[in-house]
């Protein structure tokens, strides 16, 4: 089957191995196209995509916008800071107004869990989740998976360790669903105030409080961005202690495999979750992630749009 089972992309929990495989395989093709002198394909010509961002975003929105333009879609950006939302318009009214402008695909980021599903329930557009609260950020996880496959050949049987603020991380949640579906073993590690307190429904992954043990068998390590607000909220005493306990330093890297790859969803707090020399060092694949982000988002948009003009891809 060469089409997706899902109609929208809300998250990776419950998404089949078939669908993830299809997205990653298409992303690999788009990755090749991105290396060509002419990087544009006509796959979404005539379609309109709106990037509906209710939260600040630079790289994810840019990545989506670039993916949409590479697919020849018409793109509209809609940020809550300069929209009617500020004037009290409800979410569903905002969507219906945008939809009335004959939009085909909505890429949405919002602070609320489940907003993409809510929008899908209330519109006819194809909805792509670009991050909803601490719930999911599926395209980030897909680009992480693509990067692991690109660098390590496969996800099957690989050990992926995610370190940091797991509790508030939509990236971690999407990765733990997606990567385990694809056969990777995921280990999660972070300060006790920043990991979920109830893991009964996420017991297919390993929770390891000792960071050295967490990285010992890792083939890939994903360091999560630490929000400064966590200190204000008394979840952590200081950036310094966090860096010394959970930061990816050379000392910690010495405990890992020689060929481990280091990933980060960005933007990096250099010297906090990741030391500068590691971020820029030989193990780092962070810029590959950024490139893969465009390819993955092209694949998602292309496949959800129904694979139209497939021959042009």
């Amino acid at each position: 089957m060469s089409s997706l089972e899902i109609k929208h992309l809300f998250g990776l929990r419950g998404v089949s191995k078939h669908d993830i495989r299809l997205i990653l395989d298409h992303a690999k093709q788009f990755r090749e196209i991105l290396e060509r002198p002419v990087k544009k394909v006509p796959s979404l010509r005539g379609m309109t995509v709106v990037n509906l961002f209710f939260e600040n975003s630079t790289r994810t929105r840019t990545s989506f916008e670039l993916a949409e333009k590479r697919l020849s879609a018409d793109t509209v950006n809609f940020a809550s800071s300069n929209s009617s939302v500020k004037k009290g318009e409800t979410l569903v009214d905002t969507l219906r107004n945008i939809e009335a402008m004959k939009i085909d695909i909505v890429v949405v980021r919002h602070k609320g869990t489940g907003v993409p599903k809510f929008l899908a329930d209330n519109s006819n557009a194809i909805i792509v989740n670009a991050g909803d609260g601490a719930h999911e950020h599926p395209t980030q996880a897909l680009l992480d998976m693509l990067t692991v496959e690109e660098k390590l050949g496969t996800l099957e049987g690989k050990n992926v360790t995610i370190i940091g603020d797991i509790r508030h991380s939509r990236v971690a949640r999407s990765n733990l669903w997606g990567m385990t579906t694809m056969g990777a073993h995921v280990t999660l590690c972070g300060p006790s105030t920043l990991v979920p307190r109830n893991t009964d429904l996420m017991n297919h992954v390993t929770w390891e409080p000792d960071v050295k043990k967490a990285v010992a068998n890792a083939d890939a390590i994903i360091a999560l961005r630490l929000q400064k607000e966590r200190m204000d909220d008394a979840l952590l005493p200081s950036m310094r202690e966090y860096r010394n306990t959970f930061g990816i330093t050379q000392e910690l890297l010495d405990c890992a495999k020689d060929k481990v790859i280091i990933m980060h969803p960005g933007p990096i707090n250099r010297g906090v979750e990741l030391d500068s020399d590691i971020a820029d060092g030989e193990h780092s694949v962070i810029l590959d992630q950024v490139t893969n982000g465009v390819a993955v988002r092209m694949a998602v948009l292309f496949l959800l749009a129904g694979g139209r003009n497939n021959e042009n891809a």
Partner: protein
């Protein structure tokens, strides 16, 4: 819905009904509502009237609702006191304990104004047995005490918190210390606001899986313990509204052993649902205090069975449609329940505790907690084995916020006879 007041009709005669006699249901071929209502028949023609064939349905005492809040004066174009009264009649409630969270009854004038609004509608349809909780602080704040002595004299049956989190410990002590002079009970929804913070769902496996901000059980137990210790110290009677977890029930059991006068209720939806409903991300399940885990729900049922729980509350809270048609975390919490409470819970309740205790939990005990009169001749004609699909038109007013919308309830209300008004559904 067909509604007729006693003055509009000659009479209604119920045929083939199973009447509750105070101990059990017994078959009655024919019961005249006039006679039930204490009106002495003048002659045979007076007794005869429209017949209503109950077809073996149960006739049970009408219910008393703990936790009424019709949200006036927020949007009286959407939901009015009269809608609330309609909801009570539809659901078979002859009365209820009203506590406005939007408009705190913190002085005697406000009590009079609120009571008058009820009376204004009641004059049309008879007198519902509505009792009021006063606020123990001005505006449910933590700076100034409400005029509790005057409120008590004006008729409040107790003092409440408007379902806000409990205040800081010094203010709590002062409020209870002052309010003790009234001899009234304090009604708290035990919630520590710092532990709740911005939580909107039960902190558990589902909230963590979905990345939603949770409210831990200790937000309830810490608050409950603080209240109980203050109640023990001051010898003031307290009531806990909508207990959600077994740990709080354990605190209550322990407190009673120490001689603390503490009563409690559990909410309808907390007995019917568990937090697996969060997977739907449907804002209809946004209820505060939050729907907790299946283990908590089972512990509440255990509390019902062993008698720790005094009553089942309805916590009827209309929410404007535009406040529910949003994503879960941005929606306004609350659920309607008056119209569907009985058919939603009767069968399960009876299977756990039997018919007599079920009636006690839904009618007699809530009325007693609110110092209200018993149901007397107000009745509900109820078919426990006739399923009913919940639809918008089941609800009064221009709202329909219920997690049971579209669901099939195992039972149906066929008719109610409340305050001399016969209503067929």
């Amino acid at each position: 819905m067909k509604m007729r007041s006693l003055s509009d009709i000659s009479n209604v005669v119920l045929k083939n009904a199973m009447f509750w006699n105070g101990q059990k249901f017994e078959p009655r071929d024919e019961v005249c509502l006039h006679v039930l209502n204490g009106i002495v028949p003048r002659d045979e023609s007076f007794v005869r009237g429209d017949e209503f064939d109950c077809k073996g349905a149960l006739v049970i005492p009408a219910l008393f609702g703990l936790g009424l809040d019709f949200m006036e004066p927020l949007r009286d174009d959407v939901y009015k006191y009269s809608d609330g009264i309609d909801a009570m009649r539809k659901g078979g409630f002859y009365g209820g304990l009203y506590e406005s969270s939007a408009n705190p009854i913190d002085d005697a004038d406000k009590l009079t104004a609120t009571a008058n609004r009820f009376k204004m509608f009641n004059t049309i349809v008879g007198e519902f047995e509505v009792k009021f909780l006063g606020a123990y602080s001005k505006g449910f704040g933590t700076d100034s005490l409400a005029e509790m002595m005057e409120l008590a004299e004006a008729g409040v049956v107790g003092f409440g918190d408007g379902n806000a989190a409990i205040p800081h410990s010094r203010f709590l002590r002062l409020a209870m210390e002052y309010g003790k002079m009234t001899g009234k009970r304090f009604f708290f929804q035990p919630m520590d606001k710092t532990l709740r913070k911005s939580g909107c769902v039960h902190e558990g496996a589902y909230s963590d899986m979905l990345g939603m901000k949770g409210i831990p059980r200790i937000a309830e137990t810490v608050a409950a313990y603080t209240v109980l210790e203050t109640a023990r110290f001051l010898q003031v009677p307290v009531h806990f509204k909508q207990v959600t977890c077994g740990e709080t029930l354990e605190l209550i059991r322990s407190a009673r052993k120490k001689g603390i006068d503490v009563t409690c209720d559990v909410g309808l939806y907390h007995l019917l649902l568990d937090d697996s409903c969060l997977e739907t991300l449907d804002s209809a399940y946004h209820i505060l205090p939050p729907i907790r885990s299946a283990a908590d729900r089972d512990a509440l049922w255990q509390g019902i069975v062993d008698g720790t729980v005094d009553a089942i509350s309805v916590n009827h809270t209309p929410v404007l449609r535009q406040d529910t048609v949003v994503n879960f975390e941005d929606s306004v919490p609350g659920a309607l329940s008056l119209e569907i409470a009985l058919p939603a819970i009767w069968n399960k309740l009876v299977s756990k505790v039997g018919e007599a205790r079920a009636i006690e939990l839904l009618s007699t005990a809530p009325a007693r907690l609110a110092s209200a009169a018993p149901a007397q001749n107000n009745i509900v004609v109820f078919a426990p084995d006739r399923p009913h699909v919940v639809v918008e038109s089941d609800f009064a007013g221009h709202v329909c916020n219920s997690p049971l919308m579209g669901k099939t309830l195992p039972s149906s209300i066929l008719a109610t006879y409340i305050n001399s008004v016969w209503t067929e559904m």
